[in-house]
């Protein structure tokens, strides 16, 4: 009798303990992992040209682009003279976009550059990338989608010029402190865009659905070639808006609030 009681007691204790497993706390998923995706290919007389991006889809805003140049034997060329030029052809006109000319990267064997697509592909409005290799030009059609959140801001500055501020989207955001980078370009004309350095950017993150911000952010500072790097602090997942107040070197405010929206 006693032993039975003892056993029952132990059994109860064990059952209860094993039921006390803690809940796993899965972190919220990021957007995607980097793996280069082929966008299209074209041939010149000497070379096969393949265009890659970090994601299968291109989106409005800043996109890294990679060009692989292969000769007839399939060997990757590192010495070709390669350049890119994005172009959108609309029914009545055409225009380009801010872009960063490609240069050869020995680590990947690719010519890498970037483009800031200022609008998405539409019915009659098609993007293409002109790639010139050793003087021979080919065009690779591109499809540019709209990113789910506003990662590019195109707005008129106080100097009546139009500025394009674009977020360099990271592979994934995480809770807490993140590196953040932007590009700033000024529209000169439909075909020419100039990278703007030495501006002052004051960045204020906000969660629009709650109205609060976050502490310890580091304002993006100019790192050349129109790029600005800083740190942004996400205290939680959800909707964030990065308010960017852009001033020129003399302290004149060019853009009062060029905001970028984040969701993760």
């Amino acid at each position: 009798m006693r032993k039975i009681f003892a056993l029952v007691c132990v059994a109860i204790a064990l059952c209860t303990y094993t039921s006390c497993t803690s809940k796993k706390n899965d972190p919220k998923p990021g957007i995607e992992t980097p793996a280069k995706s082929q966008l299209g290919t074209a041939n010149t007389t000497d070379h096969t040209i393949t265009l890659y991006a970090d994601t299968p889809l291109l989106f409005t805003g800043y996109n890294k682009l990679y060009v692989k140049v292969q000769d007839a034997t399939g060997a990757v060329s590192s010495t070709a003279n390669v350049s890119i030029h994005p172009l959108m052809e609309m029914s009545s006109m055409s225009h380009s976009a801010p872009y960063e000319q490609v240069s050869y990267d020995a680590a990947t064997g690719l010519y890498s550059g970037a483009a800031v697509f200022i609008m998405p592909t539409a019915d009659d409005d098609a993007w293409k990338m002109e790639v010139t290799v050793n003087g021979q030009k080919v065009a690779i059609p591109l499809t540019v989608g709209t990113f789910p959140t506003k990662v590019i801001s195109i707005s008129m500055g106080s100097d009546n010029a139009t500025y394009i501020v674009s977020l360099l989207r990271p592979a994934a955001w995480k809770v807490g402190m993140n590196d953040v980078a932007f590009t700033v370009h000024k529209i000169t004309d439909m075909m020419n865009f100039s990278a703007q350095d030495n501006l002052t950017i004051e960045m204020t993150p906000e969660m629009p659905s709650m109205g609060h911000g976050s502490p310890n952010n580091i304002n993006p500072v100019s790192s050349g070639n129109g790029h600005y790097k800083g740190k942004v602090n996400y205290t939680m997942t959800g909707d964030w808006r990065l308010h960017l107040k852009v001033s020129d070197a003399s302290g004149t405010v060019l853009l009062q609030d060029a905001f970028i929206d984040i969701l993760f």
Partner: protein
Amino acid sequence: MSVMPPVVHNKKHMRIPLYALLLCSVPIMVHAQSETDSVHHSYTLSTVNYTILGQRHQKNYTRSRELQQSTDRLLERIPGVTMIRRGNFAMEPTLRGLSAAQINMTIDGMQLFGACTDRMDPISSYVEPNNMERIQLAFSPDGEQHNASVGGGLDFRLRQARTGAKTVWSGLVGAGYETNASATQTIAALQYSRSRFAISANGVWRRAGNYTAGKGQEIAFSQYNKWNLGLSAVYLLKPNQQLRADYLQDEGYNIGYPALTMDVSFAKAKIGSASYIYTPAGRKLKSWESKVYYNYIDHAMDDTKRPAWQVPIHMDMPGTSQTMGLYSRAKWYYTNHFLEGQFTAYSNRLHAEMTMYPKNAAEMFMLTLPDVQRTVYGIDLKDKIYLGRNWTLSPSLTVNYVQSSIYTVLGKETLSSLFTGSLDRKNLIWNAGLNAEKHFNGGWALFGQLSRGARSASAQELYAFYLFNRMDNFDYIGNKDLKQETSVNASLGMSYHSQKLHIQPQLFVYRFSNYIVGQRKQGYSTMTIGASGVKQYINIPDALLYGGELYVTYRPWDKWYIQSTNSISIGQDNAGNALPLIPPFKSINRIEYTPSKYGFYAESISQSRQDRVSTAVYGERASMGFTIFNVGAGRNFMIGKNTLNVHAAVYNILDKQYYEHLDILKLYRPGRNVALNLSLTF
């Protein structure tokens, strides 16, 4: 030092019935009493005497009614204990104005930590009088305490199954009803006892609706529902060696917290332990007890029952706490020394998160307590030296090594919002104390105590991530660079004891260094909608807490008994600002008349107004004083060998609108309340 130590020796003449009765409310406690008796002689000084007194002054008219009370109601009658109230459930004990991490709350020596970031679930809310044998209290970090702290602590000793009881089966059933809040309590206890084996079970079921404050004001969201089950088994390997297993499960549901912005959908604790106890007879080694334990607390806040205007954004805020640990404790005699040594180790993990669901936007998720792990190793040494017949001297030393860290990547990422560098903390903490007690002829005694206490900053103080504090309406963030808080405290008391009269005054002072408080942090935006700002925990150079207690009992005639309990605390920081949550003068006066089989009592509870507040610094407002009156009567009926106890009481008979100073938001406490309790002991 304890409230009124030397009195313990005269327990024949003294009692504090409310707590004492816990001991003797059921027949199965008989064995327990003799054991606590010997314990009592071993270390009187810092034990709270009411935990062990009254065994022979069992007052049958109250009896098992006390078991139907909530732990909160028992605690708030102890001099020096004041409760922080956030609703009608789970009040948080403070000792002389010290609370949270400054005091150390344990259940049967086991470490537990509440899972709620808003302090909705103090440990005392997971243990019921029906589970307990006694409440052991210490106001200083030495004495009965086995862990480092600055202000002593509470240990809720569980009632355990006893072998060799007079009857094989024994138990009780009881039920109570209170008109205010339509509260019901149902309790039961059962024990099966043989010579070498015993098992016992006890349970409580409570429910209450919204209570009504004085003058008919209903306090919305003050309901609660809970049940609690305690199981205990003991098996004697040999007469002096026993194996024990204890299990406690406590689950609360749908609990309203009218003083807070959220309620609780559930608060569940599972608390288990296994022990081996060796008690050699007639040797120098008196006892050696080793215990392993594990507990898991699961808590979820809820705002779904609140009206829409109170809920700008619906959110879920669950939290968990799990602790595993062990201790091994030995006591032995050596000439005129009574020595005690203990090794303890435990590890606690806290996780608390928040998910917000805004309308027309993505949900938001964050950790509010970012997966904190704390591991503590401790050694504890005490000695009690008997110097002649009237002198005792008790030195003690406690050393704790505390490691704090973050155990998930998400937790570390979250804290990258606030901190750079390593998040890990390591603290070596030591406490030391000396108690002295001297008895004089003619019933006089003097006792004094001097100790040094320290504590590491709590998980919340180190790593809180925007925890909202309703009292000052600020969001709090942690500070991983906090230094440990230390105190030097002293107390001095005397007692006079005669046949009819007992008087015991005591004065105390705590001087803190690196006292931890919240300080406004500029440039941080609040997380909580409507909060006034963000505060971060910091060390202030010093703080002072002082005050006293006066305890008087008087027996003018046979069967008449008068008792007066008075206490006051005064606290100020280094800049002279009054510290928050410090109770003002409180006085409980009680008169009892106990003709045979019957018992009657009347009592008043008074608190003076508290003007000593620093609204600008700590966000606390002054509060009004009050006096309320309670009366009660009871009677026992013998039914064969069984006892039926009937008890009726009226609390707050004048239906006064009142609150205590520590009540958050100063919500009124319950108005007039008529309670009827029945219980049958067999």
